[in-house]
């Protein structure tokens, strides 16, 4: 019998390389959005109790004196429609589940169209790079969801987000252009969710904003289909069953 090579975990923290930095960056994003009036939406089709634990942590902190923050656990039933109806641009989604979780995949791939930042907490096989804004992942391990380590990850998000909230200077809105390629001024295609379609054009939601998209290149579309839109032109239709890929 061969034993799989032990994943490269720090023996003291139990963390893979980069996880602490990912947690820090995710916490700052979360603090900025909560500070600006956003809500944290928590979803875990596989383990609904984890979603509820995150939400209660933020709404009613166990540490006296910490402010109540807006967080909600979404029920697993009718997850995507409930999220679509309730989430607003500037909100944050924290999804907790394995890489192949269809409910999580559907949420994280639609989140950019809704203007929602997505954090994905899980263990085991890692989702493809770029599946969410921050992927907070523990390597191959069946026990992490049950033995306190998932709870540690979202406790840390809460603890670090509160540290950020105490440093007002860093809470300014995220800059529009924060890398070599800016999504708003480059020629990249952007993810769009169809709101309504009539004839040659569709009303779509891109980064939470309603826009018109020309359908000449993609043909007929249905409500809630995902498209890639470039300069007002829908250039690709994303397969509804594809993994958590984003344009």
């Amino acid at each position: 019998m061969t034993v799989a090579a032990a994943p490269d975990l720090d023996p003291a923290t139990g963390f893979p390389a980069g996880l602490a930095e990912d947690l820090a960056a995710a916490s700052l994003l979360l603090a900025r959005r909560l500070h600006a009036g956003g809500t944290l939406w928590c979803a875990s089709p596989a383990w609904p109790h984890h979603a509820q634990h995150v939400a209660v942590e933020f709404v009613h902190p166990v540490i006296v004196g910490k402010p109540a923050l807006a967080a909600v656990a979404l029920a697993a039933h009718q997850l995507t429609p409930t999220a679509r109806a309730n989430m607003s641009p500037g909100d944050v989604l924290i999804a907790i589940g394995p890489a192949g979780d269809p409910g999580v995949l559907d949420l994280v791939r639609r989140a950019p169209a809704w203007g929602v930042a997505a954090l994905w907490v899980g263990s085991g096989d890692r989702p493809p790079a770029g599946s969410a804004d921050h992927v907070l992942w523990l390597p191959d391990d069946d026990m992490a969801p049950h033995d306190g380590r998932f709870i540690l990850l979202y406790h840390l998000l809460w603890e670090l987000a509160h540290v950020c909230l105490e440093h007002r200077g860093v809470l300014e809105p995220e800059p529009d252009c924060d890398g070599p390629v800016c999504i708003t001024c480059s020629d990249e295609g952007r993810l769009a969710e169809v709101v309504s379609a009539s004839g040659p054009t569709a009303q779509v939601r891109i980064d939470g904003v309603l826009e018109e998209a020309d359908l000449a290149l993609v043909g007929e579309v249905g409500v809630h289909d995902l498209l890639v839109v470039h300069a007002g032109m829908a250039i690709t239709r994303l397969d509804a069953t594809a993994g958590g890929t984003r344009p």
């Binding site: 609904p48 509820q52 942590e57 540490i63 809460w158 440093h167």
Partner: protein, 223 residues
């Protein structure tokens, strides 16, 4: 007088560049993860004997047809739900009748509104529990009144009563209605909850192991 925080002295209130904060946050996350790992591992080691005793009692109750009821408040409510799910629908192993008493909002709100929050678990045990069933209550403080009240009701009905608590057990440590109290000696609520979850998972593993052995024993006897 400094305006920066004690933990993050590099950052003054007017600091706008997040790079220094992000670096500090990452180191802080690592330090807390070390604390968590240490508390989880020392708790499992220190409670090894108690865990074996509780697991033996639970496995024999389950073998005799006992059902598991879990309960708690807030984060402990979610951990209670997680524990019930682990027993009732494990990824592998034997499924055991188990459910949490926090799942039904109609029952919870009816009881909290009509009587009071102190009876939300005890009243459900009155309706459902019978001798030989198992009550597992979680309370990070060890002092949640509705959890203690449920233990009293469970004891009256002949249930096996098990408490999972922080702060060296709090009121649970001396609760006369508890058969067993598994306690975490933590100072931080968060680290304590993580260690409680490690205890709960270890308990599930031990019970699974014992149930497997009991099943093998029975099949040998029946041969």
């Amino acid at each position: 007088m400094t305006t920066g925080s004690f933990l993050y002295p590099m950052l003054e209130d007017g600091e706008r560049d997040p790079a220094a904060l992000l670096a500090d946050l990452a180191r802080s996350a690592e330090a807390k993860a070390v604390e968590s790992a240490q508390l989880r591992s020392t708790t499992l080691a220190d409670r090894a004997q108690d865990l074996s005793r509780v697991a033996a009692a639970m496995a024999s109750a389950i073998s005799a047809g006992g059902r598991l009821f879990t309960f708690g408040n807030g984060g402990s409510a979610t951990d209670a739900a997680g524990l019930a799910a682990l027993f009732a629908s494990p990824a592998a192993g034997r499924a055991v009748p188990a459910r949490s008493l926090v799942a039904d909002t109609a029952v919870l709100t009816a009881l909290a509104n009509d009587v009071g929050v102190e009876v939300v678990f005890a009243r459900q045990l009155m309706a459902h529990a019978r001798a030989g069933d198992i009550a597992v209550g979680l309370s990070t403080s060890g002092g949640s009144a509705n959890v203690l009240r449920a233990f009293a009701e469970g004891r009256r009905r002949g249930m096996l009563t098990v408490g999972l608590a922080g702060y060296s057990g709090g009121a649970m440590a001396t609760c006369p209605d508890l058969d067993y109290c598994l306690a975490v000696d933590g100072q931080s609520v968060h680290r304590t909850q993580e260690a409680q979850s490690a205890l709960a998972y270890a308990l599930w593993e031990l019970v699974q192991d014992l149930l497997g052995k009991l099943t093998r024993l029975e099949s040998e006897e029946n041969r």
